[in-house]
């Protein structure tokens, strides 16, 4: 490494869409002070704005808060909620708490995998669904539970998983 400052991407290839820096800049500008103390809330807000943590935004963050790559990714790798790749349009959260486990959450995951070929943490080809698990939603009476985007499905018959998801495919 030479004594250069952290590189900001010099130019984007013309075929790619220009990255929208305004959102990340706005988030950083709104900080009370530019300090690594604010790292986690800033990451959450960037993810809120871009749906995930794009490399370009992180590079701006590294330069502004003077945090190294290793440190920033060290934090991100701890929180499953922070994503560095773009998720599907809907995030599927399958509860794997004790009650949901007994009521067949594994079948739900298998069904999803059969049709969309995604395992936990992965996104399907059409960027529609990203499969995640949740440890307990706190509503065990409604087990098994599946959350699709913002929609909540309790007492789901695991066999009906695919038809439930099918309605989201139709919306496209």
């Amino acid at each position: 490494m030479t004594t250069t400052e952290t590189e900001v991407k010099e130019e984007t290839p013309p075929e790619e869409e220009e990255f929208d820096y305004s959102k990340v800049e706005e988030i950083i500008d709104s900080l009370p002070q530019k300090s690594r103390r604010h790292l986690i809330p800033v990451l959450q807000r960037i993810q809120g704005a871009y749906r995930f943590l794009p490399e370009e935004a992180l590079e701006v963050l590294m330069e502004e808060l003077r945090i190294s790559r290793a440190e920033i990714y060290g934090v991100i790798s701890f929180y499953p909620g922070l994503m560095i790749t773009e998720p599907g349009k809907y995030i599927l959260k399958v509860c794997i708490g004790t009650a949901c486990f007994v009521k067949g959450c594994e079948i739900i995951c298998n069904k999803v995998n059969e049709k969309y070929h995604i395992k936990v943490g992965e996104t399907d080809e059409n960027k529609l669904f990203t499969l995640q698990t949740a440890s307990c939603m706190g509503n065990c009476g409604a087990a098994p539970i599946l959350v699709v985007g913002d929609d909540f499905y309790g007492n789901l018959d695991p066999e009906e998983t695919l038809s439930t998801l099918g309605s989201y495919e139709d919306k496209e």
Partner: protein, 875 residues
């Protein structure tokens, strides 16, 4: 010491009365008092972390018993500490046992075996049969970079590498990833490590999870032969441990033993990984003579005989001033001393010098003026206790990386404030609460220092009456600063009034101050005046302010200070004695001759010009390659072409050696004994670790033989005898050669002749038509020009030479990183790869020197200062 003294506490460890400064962790205090406590994650250079949980002790405070972790618990008055009680052993043992569940115990092939704290602690606690089932990890080793191997199976998650990388080096290349059960140490997204390659992580790793890939052997470091020596690269003077096995130099390591050397167990990339040249295939192995344009091997006796005859005949024909010598800034003190003795005693010539002295004779004067004003400067080991550090025109992580380590330690443990003044926007990462960055206009060094002085005076930030009484020409000097009004200061330096005032206030406040001056200042056309302006600033706070100020002259190589101390300059005899009747007589007495009759000519001051003019007929260059390293390359070329007889002594073939009549192979620092004096005047030993390559010989022996062949042998033969003679001739060196310490020599007289150095007015750099950019150049983090180019490890990490261009300039010229760019001066042009960033100021380009392929010194054509150049995209 910082001006804020720490309270000393009295307390007991194992019923024994001990003392330690308030706030020091119990573990550190115990170690300093000779007690040992089990621990794996404590390092006194780093902030306490308490990861390993194996250092529990019992503390009684006011009769109340507590079990605490000694690495984080500070000492306080009257506490009673008990180490290794039954209870603490139970806890500490359990944690060690748990670590051994995963640790592979592949000790016979581990680099740390024998010096491993995990081994030592296990042994000390007698844990031979753990209670738990063994469950080893089996991850492959990671070798994605050429220098540092990650073998994470051995990792015990102490976090030392992560912390040293962040706190000591300011790089943060490593961190914990996937925290939780699967936690590992590594880089972001497992990318290949791209860092400063200082290797501190290897030193601090307690278990061999990080390994040095440049090492020629694996395992059992404890069985290698260790030779303590001093690094042969920059002028900081780090103590290194040369590790050899079967006559091979295996690797170089740092040693963190308290009080050893001045570097606190820190090294940089060059010092640690730059050992490949020592036993390189390309070393010069035999003496050679130039016969009709090609080099032919000759014997040592032929070589010595020929040189002696030619030197003698030149003296006979042209007088003693016809022979001249350049001594390397990498010679030992003993060799440098003999070098000037050969010329002065055996040849009667005063024409000895070194490259820095030819370029900037004012650096020695700067040091003298500091002493005259009573600025003695403290040992550099105190740098970590300073309150304010002014880093003036130095890219510290590249120029003196280990200096940067000390400054960062000061920031953490003393709360040091940093003022970073540089024409480039260089990065110095630290946790300083107050880091003032002054990115001033190129060339305005002098204006900046004068402006700071002016602000201190105008705002009465120091006691001006005291300063006026202490320094006779105070009034004249203050008058000379009249032109630096606030507006003018802002215009010249490009800094705001606010920035300048903040810096002045920080520097003038009661404090122990250190000023680290970079060699970049010599690039300035008014280098001498710039140094004087800085000196005046120091005199002002020294005489009028509270606390202290330490300032060292800029030096580039490992013994740049020593060669000057030893009198390898035409201006001074050894010990900076003016050449007059008295000192010549004293020297003659020491040398056992009746009279020292030196020539009165002064050819060495403008040595290369005098080679061209024909005044110098024979030139002896020992261990330098001025064609590449002297700042005016084309001048040297003409000089070496003209001079009738040229002797070059070096370890490698170089462009300079290729022009020689006789080449003598010399030993590297690892093949000889002697001492180096660093820029902060610490005298430190170098020791022979391996046998010389081929028939290479230390300059020390060669100079002795030359003196004999000239019929005027030296009266001191061995290194010890020469050291004794140096102690007699240079009283400042008395006692410096004994023992294992790193003594700093003190001037025999200080404060005898105070006075501000009033110098010429600041001249704004002139524009040169058609060449709108200024070329800035300095040593690179991985290359310093003496032999680093022969170290494969450094070459692989440094990549190719590049030209750094500011973003704005790059945009107007349509240049992007990676493009080929033609850089042209009036004299020279070359094509380099562009590196576009915000470090170089607009209107400047930066090229690191010391790559052999592109000699930066050829850009210069006689002029001083920053060379005007133009850049264009190459096709």
């Amino acid at each position: 010491m910082s001006i804020v003294a720490k309270k000393i506490c009295n307390f007991k460890i194992n019923d024994q009365e001990v003392t330690a400064p308030e706030g020091m962790p119990i573990l550190d205090a115990a170690q300093r008092n000779g007690f040992s406590i089990t621990n794996l994650c404590f390092n006194r250079k780093l902030k306490p972390f308490a990861a390993c949980r194996t250092c529990m002790v019992e503390v009684k405070d006011d009769g109340k018993k507590e079990l605490v972790y000694s690495c984080t618990h500070p000492v306080s008055e009257g506490i009673e500490v008990q180490i290794n009680t039954q209870e603490t052993d139970r806890y500490n043992n359990a944690c060690l046992e748990l670590l051994l569940v995963e640790h592979p115990l592949d000790c016979p092939i581990c680099d740390k075996s024998g010096i491993c704290p995990l081994q030592d602690n296990t042994e000390a606690m007698g844990i031979y049969d753990g209670r738990f089932e063994i469950k080893r990890r089996n991850e492959p080793s990671i070798k994605t970079n050429p220098i540092i191997e990650f073998y994470l199976n051995r990792c015990i998650m102490c976090g030392m590498c992560v912390r040293v990388c962040d706190e000591t080096q300011g790089v943060q290349a490593l961190d914990f990833h996937r925290r939780g059960y699967g936690v590992v140490i590594g880089t972001a997204n497992e990318e290949p490590l791209d860092c400063e390659f200082c290797g501190q992580c290897i030193t601090v790793c307690p278990t061999g999870a990080l390994n040095d890939l440049t090492s020629q052997a694996r395992g059992l470091a404890a069985l290698f032969k260790n030779t303590y020596s001093t690094c042969n690269y920059c002028s900081w003077g780090c103590t290194v441990k040369l590790e050899t096995k079967s006559g091979q130099l295996i690797r170089i390591e740092a040693d963190e033993t308290l009080g050893l050397g001045i570097n606190d167990g820190n090294l940089c990339a060059k010092g640690r990984f730059g050992h490949g040249f020592v036993q390189s295939e390309k070393r010069l192995k035999v003496p050679m003579a130039n016969v009709g344009g090609s080099f032919q091997e000759i014997t040592w006796s032929e070589a010595i005989q020929t040189i002696a005859e030619r030197l003698q005949s030149t003296v006979n024909r042209n007088g003693p001033a016809g022979v001249a010598g350049i001594a390397s800034e990498k010679m030992t003190n003993e060799e440098a001393y003999l070098f000037q003795k050969l010329f002065r005693k055996s040849l009667g010539s005063n024409q000895v010098t070194n490259l820095q002295n030819i370029r900037a004779p004012y650096v020695n004067e700067f040091m003298q003026k500091c002493f005259d004003n009573g600025i003695e400067s403290k040992p550099v080991t105190e740098l970590e206790n300073s309150d304010v550090v002014l880093i003036f025109n130095s890219d510290l992580p590249s120029e003196y990386p280990v200096g940067g380590n000390s400054v960062r330690k000061g920031v953490i443990f003393t709360g040091t404030d940093i003022i970073l003044a540089n024409p480039r926007k260089v990065i110095f990462k630290s946790e300083a609460q107050n880091q003032i960055e002054l990115t001033f206009s190129v060339g305005s060094d002098m204006a900046l220092a004068n402006s700071l002085s002016k602000i201190i005076i105008d705002k009465k930030l120091v006691d001006l009456n005291k300063a006026q009484k202490a320094v006779p020409n105070y009034g004249d000097w203050v008058k000379s600063l009249d032109s630096y009004s606030s507006d003018q200061a802002q215009r010249l330096t490009g800094l705001s009034d606010d920035q300048l005032t903040k810096a002045a206030e920080c520097f003038a406040k009661p404090a122990d101050r250190y000023v680290l001056v970079g060699n970049d200042i010599l690039e300035n056309a008014q280098g001498e005046s710039a140094l004087n302006a800085l000196l005046n600033l120091c005199i002002l706070v020294h005489s009028g302010g509270e606390g202290s100020v330490s300032v060292y002259p800029p030096r580039e190589h490992c013994n740049s200070q020593g060669v000057n101390d030893m009198g390898v300059t035409p201006q001074y005899l050894p010990g900076y004695k003016k050449i007059d009747k008295n000192s010549s007589a004293a020297l003659a007495k020491a040398w056992g001759i009746e009279k020292l009759d030196l020539d009165q000519a002064n050819h060495a001051e403008s040595l290369f010009e005098n080679c061209i003019s024909g005044d110098i007929k024979a030139l002896f260059i020992s261990g330098e390659d001025p064609l590449t390293s002297y700042y005016k390359g084309s001048l040297v070329k003409d000089a070496l072409k003209t001079v009738p007889f040229l002797i070059v002594q070096d370890s490698f073939m170089s462009p300079t050696a290729e022009m020689a009549d006789i080449i003598l192979p010399s030993c590297s620092f690892a093949e000889k004994d002697g001492t180096f004096t660093n820029m902060t005047r610490h005298i430190q030993p170098i020791r022979e670790a391996v046998l010389p390559e081929g028939s290479a010989r230390p300059e020390f022996d060669v100079l002795q033989e030359l003196a004999e062949a000239l019929g005027k042998p030296f009266n001191a033969g061995s290194i010890e005898e020469v050291q004794k003679e140096i102690e007699d001739v240079v009283p400042e060196y008395k006692g410096a050669f004994k023992g294992k310490g790193s003594p700093q020599w003190k001037p025999s007289q200080t404060g005898s002749n105070p006075g501000f150095a009033i110098s010429e007015d600041y001249k704004e750099p002139k524009e040169q038509k058609g060449f709108p950019f200024r070329l800035i150049t300095n040593n690179h983090m991985f290359h310093i020009g003496n032999y680093t180019q022969h170290c494969d490890a450094l070459n692989t990490v440094s990549g190719e030479q590049s030209v750094q261009i500011n973003r704005k300039d790059a945009q107007t010229q349509k240049i992007a990183t990676g493009d080929k760019v033609k850089v042209e001066s009036k004299n020279h042009s070359t094509v380099l790869t562009a590196e576009v960033n915000g470090v170089s100021a607009p209107g400047t380009v930066y090229i690191a020197k010391n790559w052999v392929e592109h000699s930066i010194n050829l850009f210069r054509n006689g002029e001083e200062g920053y060379v005007p150049v133009k850049i264009s995209k190459a096709e």
